[in-house]
Symmetry: C2
Subunit: 310 residues, 2 copies
């Protein structure tokens, strides 16, 4: 009988766990609230181990039915060695040998990677990018991230932090960014910027982006313009990535991509107008397919490929 | 006895050929003037074949002493199949099966790639990038190009046109570029722009960039500022590449790099101030080492690795 995997997606808000069948179907899911476990990495790790055991047991399996655990984390992860180097938004996580700790407790193989890298891996093998060799997956949310599949391999970079599309500058004299840069792409389309801009445009403090989606779908002129401007920035950022990497596909995911239908035309138009001819002719820009489950499914793929090869 | 190679670097002005020893030492060189052979690809190919034969014979070798020929060309090259898909600046070159034609005539293996890819390969194996796994080589000239070595492999992209660093936008509303884009990096630091700007700054039509180097070295305030501004644009472009690709090294080559000493401090400062922490900590920015011979040496490496493996 082929073995299942456990996919774990550690986010700033939730920790999602999924029991995944060999086919890539998620059999069962469970959730932890991240902020309940931020006092010490040990706390979070123990909760994770307990949750994995429950998830397995409650679904009529034993730990021996599990090929391995894959974990995506929001930060700098030494994937080959299984070490969390640094999580910027979860206190205390510096140089945590997460693989060793969990393997010792659960006695099954553990693999890990940056969360956006796993989303890219998931979309590549099970989602919008099936069958392609060169693709870029971008996630639009509070942060704007990216995962790079180049020549059929996930490219991690020298220090495991490649893919920071959100911090490619769009303008040399643009607004200052938390990262220390100026005019970063994220400063134009990250959720914080969009919410601040929406509050101004619609004259309503704390307006939610979902409301502006709804307004746009009813043809509200300001909402349509708001999303068209956002899409123009996205298109301009993609031009740089497309000219540099000559990918076959760009996959757009994350919260803001929920509104992709209002942005699609503009994004495509900007790229068609501005990207180089050859790059342009071969790149497809599509919406992510796996939604919230991309992280879990990417973790599943990581386990599968690490154990059974590509 | 280990075999030599022939490295060929086809440029818009000259075609450089070198007979290269297995060690990577260039034993002898020769040159053709490109514009004498632009009426038909056949013309250029025939001249190339004649030049290869002479170069071999005049150095006391026979064609049997040559392991293979490597050729760099300025355009879109299907390297695995040995086909020149398109050369934008040499008329008539569309879908030319160059490998097949030359192999038929010379009866030795022929390999080819984009010229900037071969410069990157040369600098990686024999120049500034020795021993690294992730590096970006940029060439500053009339065109601004780039070659990407990622995870120890030359990355060519889906359609063999990856690396167009010169066409990553620096500003969303920047000046229009020949490529169809706006605010492309090349529009700020390509030779044409620099010469036009220099003519204005120094009030002297047709001023050569070398003159402005000389002025800068004598402390001329306008010249120093001119190169500092150029270096700032270069730094800003590198920030995007560094954040996205997390390379271990950036190698700066090409004509404008002849003036690297006046730009180095500023480039380093901009990157130190603006690139992300982890990326910043591990990237070295250095000048190319192989100068004019990088193309020939890269072609040599291409032959060596294609025949004998990495």
């Amino acid at each position: 009988m082929p073995l299942c995997t456990i996919g774990v997606d550690v986010g700033g808000t939730n920790i999602k766990l999924g029991l995944v069948a060999p086919s890539g179907k998620i059999i069962a899911k469970t959730n932890l609230i991240t902020k309940s476990y931020v006092h010490h990495p040990r706390q979070l790790i123990n909760a994770l181990v307990v949750a994995v055991r429950s998830l397995v047991r409650e679904n009529g399996k034993t730990i021996k039915d599990i090929a391995g655990i894959g974990i995506g984390l929001p930060g700098q992860i030494n994937s080959p060695q299984g070490i969390v180097i640094f999580l910027p938004n979860v206190p205390g996580w510096r140089n945590v040998p997460l693989r060793k700790i969990i393997q010792k407790q659960l006695k099954i193989p553990v693999f890990m990677d940056n969360d956006v890298n796993l989303i890219a891996l998931g979309e590549w093998k099970l989602g919008a990018g099936k069958g392609y060799q060169n693709l870029v997956c971008i996630t639009l949310g509070t942060g704007v991230g990216g995962g790079l599949i180049l020549d059929g391999v996930l490219y991690r970079g020298e220090g495991f932090v490649a893919g920071e599309i959100g911090h490619m500058p769009l303008n040399e004299h643009g607004p200052a960014c938390n990262c220390g840069g100026r005019g970063c792409f994220e400063r134009y389309v990250g959720n914080r910027t969009l919410m601040a801009k929406a509050a101004k445009v619609f004259g309503k403090k704390n307006i939610r982006l979902e409301e502006t989606f709804a307004l746009a779908s009813r043809g509200n002129v300001r909402a349509v313009r708001f999303w068209r401007e956002t899409a123009t920035h996205i298109g301009n950022a993609l031009v740089g990535v497309i000219n540099l990497l000559n990918p076959r596909m760009i996959i757009i995911g994350g919260g803001v991509a929920g509104n992709y239908k209002f942005m699609e035309k503009t994004i495509q138009k900007v790229v068609r107008n501005r990207a180089m001819t050859v790059q342009n002719a071969m790149v497809r820009i599509v919406r992510a397919r796996l939604g919230d489950e991309a992280g879990i499914l990417g973790a599943h793929i990581l386990v599968k490929e690490s154990i059974f090869g590509r």
